[in-house]
């Protein structure tokens, strides 16, 4: 993790509703202070943003336009090996989740998720 205590986080999801929901939950009192380093709606944007802002945490959708989550994880982990990535996906098949973990993601959360589930997953990731 980063040297200073304040963590930065990037949210990658093609749905604006999901992006806003995650951002709102992260700002809540349950989690330690986390700066939102950026929001990305597709994989290519996510890679660019990650290069600039070097976030500590990322929530990542798998099915996205331009560059899908799996490829995106692979590219980001390549230059940010310490960054923890939480896959947040509606895909039901576990094979995809397993491939994402294999490529470097640290956690997995099924859509649809409750507020509590997301917070638990993020806390586990920071832990």
């Amino acid at each position: 993790m980063s040297l200073h205590n304040i963590l930065s986080m990037m949210i990658v999801d093609d749905s604006m509703i999901i992006r806003n929901r995650i951002a709102r939950l992260v700002a809540g009192p349950t989690l330690p202070h986390i700066n939102i380093a950026g929001l990305a709606a597709n994989g290519e944007m996510a890679v660019e943003l990650a290069r600039d802002s070097r976030p500590d945490l990322i929530t990542m959708d798998l099915t996205m336009p331009l560059l899908d989550g799996e490829a995106c994880i692979e590219r980001i982990i390549d230059f940010l090996p310490e960054t923890k990535i939480l896959v947040v996906s509606a895909l039901a098949d576990k094979a995809t989740a397993l491939r994402a973990i294999k490529k470097g993601a640290s956690g997995f959360l099924h859509k649809p998720f409750t507020d509590e589930e997301l917070l638990d997953s993020l806390l586990e990731l920071i832990d």
Binding site: D93, K94, A95, I101
Partner: protein, 688 residues
């Protein structure tokens, strides 16, 4: 290492102790042996010294006698003096050595009793006392080179008188010392014997204890193995260990072979086995998952939700009749010193569970259907639905009676099948109009059974068995819906008994709903228009037409007339097709009902083709028909311009039903059409 040693000492403490004692005893015996050999040496030298005292005393006496003789004979005295001197010195040396040896108190009083030593000292002292007077006489004698005979004679006298006593005393001393040595030897031997016996006892103890321990441990191991075998033999789940090399361990439950329907050999490559058992996708996901399981950094909570081998379906070719079709695998990490060294794999046969879940899902879908049925009916006047249902039931029961009392004549069978087909088709349309979708589905299924029988002239009684079965299915569906409707009517408390204020409008609204549903099912877009006068009550003939003929014609208009939206746009028409129903009444009471659509129109050429293709007419017969005659065939049973039957069209019975209904009412049916423009069916009903 430390803990290993501690446990070793803990478990084998008494053995280690016993072996220690054994070694100690051995060392003790060896020490005693060494000590004894030293003592024997010392004892021998003491006995030897005592012997020397005797020898030198006698040598001195002999020397003195020789000296006296030499002096008497005037011979030279040097050699006798030298002998005397040597004997005196030898005696003194032996005496001093012996005194020194006996002065030391015994190192081991048990072995060499103090009393014996003191006794020996006393004996030595008495030897010395006897010796000293002789020594006093001899001393001055040997100092002189030329001794006087008197002194010599005195010395001889002293020596001779004391010689016997001295010899006796030296012998006593020697005997005592020998006795001491003997006693010591026998004591040491006794100690040795005791020590060796103890060592033997100890050895026997070790042996007994060790063998006993070994046997007990063997028994324990055997019992544990037996227990393990019993567990593995009777547990219902499949159990085995998966090594870090992804191979199957040696111990496995017997149920495994039954669960897999094939042998999973110890040492087998598990991933390859899985690849034969289930789909490639499953096997690949399993490989990724097992890799994660062997990664000690992965979190348990994450691993639990990622297991892909939950309720996996086995490949059909791997299954036998009795073997399971769905399996769930559970993996438990076995950690040693923080490392995952193996996985405990538990395999569950979940076929029954999956089957039940499927059944439950099916039951839920059916329940949903039944709710949809209820809602569909509630959209309509229960009175009307009940009326339809009771008519339908009566009609079908009539047919049922006919089927049961059929005569073994061939001729009526094809006609009968055609009649049943027309009735069922009519029921299907009415049921759909009234929202009774389950009945219209059952009627459609019935038509599927009737279809292959139509046009066959070689029908036998046996061919009608499936017809009877389908009929009873349709009947039971009707009875079921009837029961529901009765409950609804009962619930409404008879309030719906009042006739609707606008019966014609109600009927047309129902027909509109039906039209829109048909269009939706066929992926077409339709706008429904009605231009009718308001009527307070429906003449029976019109009610019949609205119930039977109009839905058929509207359905035909959408299924055959209105084109798909894309086709319509290509022909320069709006995507949404128009179906229009008009009713006019003339002064004489004649009613004219028109069903108009702006679809593709009737194509006489296409119809000719269909007639030939369906082998309803020979090509020559078709060629001989006029266009009007070709169009007239539309009203014959079994002609449809569509290639395949779906629920809304294609069997060719719709127009036959309409024609039959109108004929019963004494009405007329005309058709008017232009290609790519419109089709219009016009029904005229004269007042009764």
């Amino acid at each position: 290492m430390k803990t290993l040693l501690a446990s070793l000492f803990g478990k084998y403490r008494d053995l280690v102790l016993a072996i220690g004692i054994f070694l100690l005893l051995d060392a003790g015996v060896s020490a005693i042996n060494i000590y004894t050999s030293r003592q024997i040496e010392a004892d021998a030298s003491r006995i030897n010294a005592a012997g020397l005292l005797r020898t030198y005393a006698q040598q001195l006496t002999k020397g003195l006698l020789t000296l006296e003789m030499d002096l008497r004979n005037g011979q030279r005295t040097q050699s006798s003096l030298a002998e005397i001197s040597e004997a005196r010195l030898g005696f003194d040396d032996a005496r001093l050595a012996l005194e020194k040896k006996l002065a030391q108190p015994s190192a081991l009083p048990l072995i060499e009793p103090e009393s014996l030593r003191q006794h020996a000292q006393e004996l030595l002292a008495s030897v010395v006392r006897t010796w000293e007077p002789i020594d006093r006489e001899v001393g001055p004698l040997i100092v002189n080179a030329d001794p006087d005979p008197e002194s010599a004679a005195r010395a001889v006298q002293k020596a001779v008188t004391r010689n016997n006593r001295l010899t006796q005393q030296a012998d006593d001393l020697s005997e005592t010392l020998t006795e001491m040595a003997n006693k010591k030897t026998s004591t040491v031997r006794l100690i040795q014997a005791i020590a060796i016996s103890l060592a033997f006892l100890n050895f026997a103890f070790i042996l007994f204890k060790f063998i006993g321990r070994l046997a007990a441990s063997d028994r324990q191991t055997a019992a544990a193995r037996e227990e393990t075998e019993r567990i593995l033999g009777s547990v219902r789940e499949g159990l085995f260990l998966l090594t870090s090399k992804r191979t199957v361990g040696g111990q496995r439950s017997q149920s495994l072979d039954r669960i897999f329907g094939q042998q999973l050999q110890p040492g087998a490559d598990f991933l390859a086995f899985l690849g034969r058992l289930t789909s490639t996708a499953n096997a690949e996901a399993a490989r990724d998952y097992i890799d994660l399981l062997f990664n000690k950094k992965m979190k348990q909570s994450l691993l639990e939700q990622l297991n892909p081998l939950v309720e996996i379906e086995l490949l059909a070719e791997q299954r036998t009749k009795k073997s399971p079709s769905y399996l769930t695998f559970e993996f438990n990490q076995i950690r040693e010193n923080g490392q995952v060294v193996a996985l405990l794999v538990t395999v569950f046969d979940v076929s029954q569970k999956v089957r039940l879940e499927h059944q439950l899902a099916g039951a839920e879908a059916r329940a949903d259907n039944e709710i949809a049925l209820l809602l569909g009916i509630l959209d309509h006047n229960p009175h009307e639905v009940a009326d339809f249902l009771s008519r339908a039931r009566d009609t079908l029961q009539l047919i049922n009676g006919e089927l049961q009392s059929i005569q073994p004549l061939r001729q009526p069978y094809p006609q009968m099948v055609n009649r049943i087909a027309r009735i069922v088709h009519g029921l299907k349309g009415e049921a759909a109009t009234l929202g009774c979708s389950s009945i219209s589905r059952a009627a459609h299924a019935f038509e599927d059974i009737l279809q292959p029988l139509r046009g066959r002239n070689d029908l036998a009684g046996d061919d009608l068995i499936p017809v009877a079965v389908a009929l009873s299915t349709l009947l039971s569906e009707i009875v079921k819906v009837e029961a529901v409707v009765k409950r609804v009517q009962h619930f409404a408390g008879g309030k719906s008994d009042a006739p609707p204020p606008d019966p014609l409008g109600d009927s047309l609204r129902r027909i509109e709903q039906y039209a829109l549903r048909v269009a939706e099912d066929l992926n077409k877009q339709v706008r429904f228009e009605a231009a009718v006068p308001r009527l307070d009550h429906l003449p029976p003939a019109l009610a019949s037409v609205l119930r039977e003929a109009v839905p058929q014609l509207v359905r035909n208009a959408i299924a055959h007339g209105i084109e798909a939206p894309a086709d319509r746009l290509r022909h320069g028409k709006p995507a949404t097709g128009l179906v229009r129903v008009e009713l006019t009444s003339e002064a004489d009471g004649t009613l004219t009902m028109t069903i108009h659509d702006d679809g593709c129109g009737l194509s006489v050429e296409q119809l000719r083709g269909v007639l030939i293709e369906r082998e309803l007419y020979s090509p020559a017969e078709v060629a001989a028909l006029s266009d009007a005659q070709v169009i007239a065939t539309l009203f014959e049973a079994g002609v449809s311009s569509l290639d395949s039957a779906h629920q809304h069209a294609g069997r060719g019975d719709g127009l036959a039903v309409v024609k039959a209904a109108l004929r019963d009412l004494g009405g007329r049916l005309r058709v008017n059409s232009r290609a790519n423009s419109h089709t219009r069916f016009i029904m005229q009903i004269k007042p009764a």
